[in-house]
């Protein structure tokens, strides 16, 4: 379970996210939806402290993973370990410009997985995303030769290989064609119960299909905030906020 309390993110003087509090349940799929520019991706990046990479980004508030140390403020936090525990898959597939095998070896060796263990991990995670039968005979070829959908599944497998507790997805299907998008979505849905999934998506239909919980971000007073949260089976039909009602009905956003 991830507990977010009073989270604010600033880029210089510009507030991207203000005062967001949210509980993300363990083992479930939580969809973060909302119009462009409402701070969804910034919010996601704060969960594994990838906000550190953005010059001028300042994060305030609290984020706790299973009640343990605060991701935002704890000075003794092991960032590399945090990012092993909280994996991330990006909008555009980003395999390293190396062989498929090296794409796994690099992070696995970094986190102290022995060389003997690696082939087994590669096979099991590639099977989990349905890639093993497609690419098992060309592990030493460049990962960049794979199709877009295969690359994205490779990135999911690469994150899974580190045995994370949480995986963050930042619009993982929006750069893919509809068929590949469907396959990737199915594999994300299959993660339910195994890891905690937080997925940012613009696609409300996708959120309806795979999410257990939904958080709707909106821009209020020039900064992103959460205006509606709830279980996926009720939030779309009975939103309390008037903007949320218009957004879910397709009239706004």
């Amino acid at each position: 379970m991830i507990t977010v309390e009073n989270l604010s993110i600033h880029y210089g003087n510009l507030a991207a996210v203000r005062d967001v509090s949210l509980d993300i349940p363990e083992g479930k799929i939580t969809a973060v939806v909302g119009p462009s520019g409402c701070g969804k991706s910034s919010f996601l990046a704060s969960l594994n402290r990838l906000t550190d990479l953005i010059p001028g980004a300042k994060v305030a508030g609290e984020i706790r993973l299973n009640g343990k140390s605060d991701i935002v403020n704890d000075p003794g936090l092991d960032l590399l370990e945090l990012r092993r525990t909280v994996g991330m898959v990006f909008q555009k597939p980003n395999p390293f410009p190396l062989s498929i095998r090296k794409n796994f070896e690099l992070p696995l060796l970094e986190h102290g997985i022995s060389k003997r263990e690696i082939p087994g991990r590669i096979e099991s995670t590639l099977r989990e995303v349905g890639l093993w039968d497609e690419i098992s005979d060309r592990l030493d070829e460049s990962a960049e030769n794979l199709s877009g959908g295969q690359q994205q599944r490779l990135c999911i497998a690469r994150a899974l290989a580190l045995r994370p507790k949480v995986i963050l997805f930042d619009e993982p299907c929006s750069a893919l064609d509809p068929l590949a998008s469907g396959v990737v979505e199915d594999h994300i849905a299959a993660l339910r119960g195994k890891v905690t999934v937080v997925i940012v998506t613009h696609n409300l239909a996708q959120a309806r299909r795979i999410a257990d919980e939904v958080a709707l971000f909106w821009v209020r007073d020039g900064a992103g905030c959460v205006i509606e949260t709830g279980p996926a089976n009720t939030i779309f039909d009975r939103p309390k906020d008037p903007d949320a009602a218009l957004y879910f009905s397709g009239a706004r956003g």
Partner: protein
């Protein structure tokens, strides 16, 4: 072809003709230099010329000691400039983004690149030869050249690093890769072609350098006895033969020809190495 089969407009034809003429002028100019060198120099060019000692002020004998001195100067220069230059570029690109001081350093590096070589020569003479007590020596010359090519190496490495795909760094960070691994396994391979280009440009500039070396490594024509010995670089030799030694024109041309061929070879080698490296990156780990 732009515009396909359609007739080109008058302006387009004019631009094409002007461009072609400019290219021709450059080609003819370069051709004339090479032709002249071949004509005056080929007669003296031989194996004994390449390995023989300098005799009669360079009019007779060969350029053996000069080639050895040049190689040793280059060795010192690269041994210092390459690690220092790539290290500095990596720091500027990967670690210094939040430090305001880094901007001043980058500006300083660009300024350094435009300093005339004679100034480097004077600096080298004062600092390396006198202050550090290295005297007129191959080491002093090499270090002076290193200062001179440092901006080139840093700039090209920076360009190489900035050519890394923008999603590489966040991707690596999101997998919990340390900065050291990210640089070593992902960014440096991307930057290598840039480093190779920088090194080649640096070598070319170093080999062609006269002004910075006359005051630092000197112009002794004997076989160098070590890095602390004075030694004449090939461009200094050419300059001396052409300007100060009556009857030295033929050997000056032959030496220039050797320099030209060496530069062409180094350029070819650099391209080859860069291509090789790109291929190797895909192959499985050998560690």
């Amino acid at each position: 072809m732009i515009g396909g089969a359609a007739r080109l407009s008058r302006n387009d034809r004019l631009l094409g003709a002007a461009g072609g003429f400019a290219a021709l002028v450059v080609l003819v100019g370069f051709g004339a230099i090479v032709f002249d060198l071949f004509q005056t120099g080929t007669a003296s060019l031989s194996i004994p010329f390449l390995v023989g000692k300098v005799e009669n002020g360079g009019r007779a004998g060969g350029i053996g000691p000069v080639l050895i001195s040049t190689g040793m100067i280059l060795l010192v220069c690269l041994a210092v400039a390459l690690p220092l230059g790539t290290g500095c570029a990596i720091w500027l690109s990967e670690f210094a983004s939040k430090i305001r001081f880094a901007r001043a350093i980058t500006a300083g590096i660009d300024l350094l690149a435009s300093v005339p070589s004679i100034v480097f020569g004077l600096f080298g003479m004062v600092f390396f030869c006198r202050t550090l007590g290295l005297g007129f020596s191959i080491t002093s010359g090499g270090l002076t050249l290193a200062c001179m090519i440092l901006p080139i190496v840093i700039r090209t490495t920076l360009i190489g690093l900035s050519g890394a795909p923008s999603n590489l760094r966040p991707g690596a960070a999101a997998l919990g890769l340390s900065r050291v691994s990210t640089i070593r396994h992902l960014l440096l391979p991307v930057a290598i072609p840039g480093v190779v280009v920088g090194t080649t440009l640096g070598i070319s500039r170093a080999l062609a350098e006269t002004a910075a070396l006359i005051f630092t490594s000197g112009y002794a024509t004997r076989w160098p006895e070590g890095f602390d010995d004075s030694g004449r670089a090939i461009s200094v030799h050419i300059y001396d033969l052409a300007m100060n030694v009556p009857g030295g024109a033929a050997n000056a041309a032959a030496s220039a020809l050797v320099l030209l061929l060496a530069l062409l070879f180094i350029n070819y080698l650099a391209t080859l190495l860069a291509d090789r490296w790109l291929l190797k990156r895909i192959a499985p780990t050998s560690e």
